[in-house]
Symmetry: D3
Subunit: 188 residues, 6 copies
């Protein structure tokens, strides 16, 4: 049965509303054991002159960028080693951590750190998981497998990885990476 009515100020795109339809449906499903088809979302949009708080009209703010999209753009730029594009997606105070690495704050440091570990690496994605975190940031997980070449030029693939990102205000504030590279090297 659950029926959700969302009242928002006018100004959201069809895509924003589709995203709201999806996240609200998913939110209900976390608690109520209803099949998705039984969950109805209705979005009511209020033009500015029909919504008042404290007797005053209010302006809506543009929707947040989909955090998974931000992460995907960052990963694509990093894989292509387009550091400027990748950097444009980072918030001040960004910090990243890889298996065995110290906390890194600059993409160049990460590139340097990775150099003795592999010539290049390509990610094949099995899935993204996105949610709002307890604080201000959204959390995006992406997981899949790595393929690439070891420093000696031999190829590898099928190595499991998972990345956890925090995204606030459309910028990435934190990246944590886990993978089986060391496990794979230990077995070879």
């Amino acid at each position: 049965m659950p029926i959700v009515e969302l009242h928002i100020l006018e100004g959201y795109t069809s895509n924003d509303k589709q995203r709201l339809g999806t996240v609200l449906t998913d939110a209900v499903r976390l608690v109520v054991p209803a099949p998705p088809e039984a969950i109805t979302i209705m979005i009511h949009e209020m033009p500015t002159d029909r919504y008042y708080r404290g007797g005053e009209q209010r302006m809506g703010a543009p929707a947040l960028e989909d955090p998974a999209k931000v992460v995907r753009a960052f990963l694509d730029a990093m894989q292509a080693r387009q550091l400027d594009q990748a950097r444009a997606l980072l918030a001040d105070g960004f910090v990243m951590q890889f298996p065995g690495s110290p906390a890194l704050t600059r993409l160049e440091d990460m590139v340097d750190w990775a150099k003795p570990r592999y010539r290049f690496v390509t990610k094949t994605f099995d899935g993204f998981d996105t949610m709002q975190g307890a604080g201000q940031a959204a959390v995006v997980y992406c997981r899949g497998t790595l393929s690439g070449e070891w420093p000696d030029g031999t190829a590898f693939d099928g190595i499991r990885f998972i990345d956890r990102f925090e995204v606030a205000g459309g910028k990435i504030t934190k990246q944590d990476v886990w993978n089986d590279i060391a496990e794979t090297r230990a077995q070879t």
Copy 2:
């Protein structure tokens, strides 16, 4: 501004409704850049005789167990090696994968597989992330650090880990584990 009205059948506990208040607020925040205090949730409960679908009264189903609670109970049981209690939380078709392990379906196999790797291991949690997955299952991530003893009795700690669980109908269907154990061993 966003105001969410949720209509559900009567029968949910105060705790269920608090969970709904939280997940709906978080869902809106993924799309609308409003501070949490600006997001209002109103839950309207319908007694059975005031809700009809197809002209017929419908019964509400009890709320789903919080998936993070299920995961936490499983992790506690596994750490204490109370395999029966842990097993009770698993769905048919459960499968788990650890760094370097094959796909495992029985907890005993996992215990055997782990034996040559460490004497015991204790998890310190940095955080849980819960969200509805695209399919039927909820997804729970927990991350933190491992401490314990290597097979030779020397201690280790501060090794990063992350677990990804899928939980459907209150039972765990899948566990995927990543950690820096191999990385740590390679460095020592």
Copy 3:
């Protein structure tokens, strides 16, 4: 999709609300080609101190008796020739018409009129149809077959009939009857 929210004053029984759930579902189905299961009815009841018109609290009136029930009770009383009970269900100004009869206003006149036509008659019901009429009255149709004995004592059965009733304020104001008695007699 259609979702109907009905706001009424508190005081209706569960049975009244079930009837409202049914008639509202049926009303929507007359216009919208949705399967019944896709039509949701939510009834919101307002306690007296939460509903104001003209700034004043209002009292709800008890639900109308189901007009089909009134008709059924009348037909049962008539068949048993319990004229007093039947008469109690009639409004002032009640008028009835049978095939070939004049307009009759008293049940006794109807009984007299029927005497030369059949010794007794029993109705087997195929169905009742109830709807609100354009004016104040509800309209109830019942149809089925008649069985009984002709004045000469021979039996008949399977003769089609249909009755149309108007019911206002729980009382019957009008009855119109059609049947195949004359057709049957003409064929025999």
Copy 4:
């Protein structure tokens, strides 16, 4: 007091909405003893991108044709013996029954069956009653009087009739007819 809010997908015509306003008002009046002026209907239309079920946008279907209009068109075509036009309004499996007739499935058979009974017949309508049936079909009653000529060319009029139709998906599935023709003939 009763206030009805109907939420439907966008796409209905003003005429469709007027019909919904009428049938919902009538539905409430069957149960609640409120004068029509006290019954308020508000129809809320949802554009496709503001309504989600299972997280997916849904398309509304065009409104059903008014079943009484379908019946009226059929009766007009039959009276004019425009059998093709009449036949276009019939569903597969259509069946009709007249006083003394067998169950007929083809209009031609009905015409043949009627020939020895009257030269022609014209209907004067006293009223139509429409409602949703318990199954898929709407039910339409029309009643009034017949005039025409007997096979011998003499005229008749004022003969009561009532037709009951079932209409599903804009097509007539069933017609049942009662009238006083035999009664009238018996009396002459």
Copy 5:
């Protein structure tokens, strides 16, 4: 928290809706101790073909003129002794009373009555208060200070006054005036 949803027929201007936003917020604040920012007003407008009472569409009436604006226009016209313009704002049956005056019904009489009391007077406004009265009329208070010249040509200013107006249907039905003119004269 208070959230007010107002359903009105379509046709009100943005300014009308702003006025509704303000008066509804103020109304809630008279009873609920919430800061204005915590009070939300949502105005839902119904196009004519989506609102039915008694199954019939209804036309909305244009908004009432702001009663304080009517009063202000009257006071401006009176101060400029544009009696025709002022008179156009008066309802039939208008009556006014000044300190020490009889009940006056014609503006000319008021002008005559005032002549021996002051050569002219100018109002400086400290504030207007507007509210709906118990009957049909709105009540407007305006208060401030008077300046002008006594009949002997000496100037005065800073004399407190308050006017109470009743306004119905956009016309002034009643004016009552209090001021400190006599008090001031007694002290000089």
Copy 6:
């Protein structure tokens, strides 16, 4: 037509809700030219566990005392010269002004100031007008006539007066008084 739905936290008394019903009706009437009977107010109360802001349950605050009641209690106490009771109804920073008086902050000063003016005075009320002011305070007007005795023991009555009060948080912050005492004395 206007229909107002008010959503508030549970905990208001029937009397509070009646007051809300009245002030919301009156507020609408200031803008929409509908007769009171055409204005419907529905109050929806939310139990604490069904209302969330920022994902957290909120507590409702008790209703404000009716400002006109506070004023009436103050006027009754003053007339009876029960200064302690009257003083208990005053806010810090209270200030009052009478015709010809300076701004007074203490009730004793007002009593002293009045002594040479009249032996005692009794108010007969013609009406109270209450509204929310632009700031935090509600505004209450009361008007009517004064009767009493002049210092020389002669009686007076029928002298018009009007008081304007500001009331915030249940306490009076300001009283302004106008009357025809000086006018009356000048005429005698």
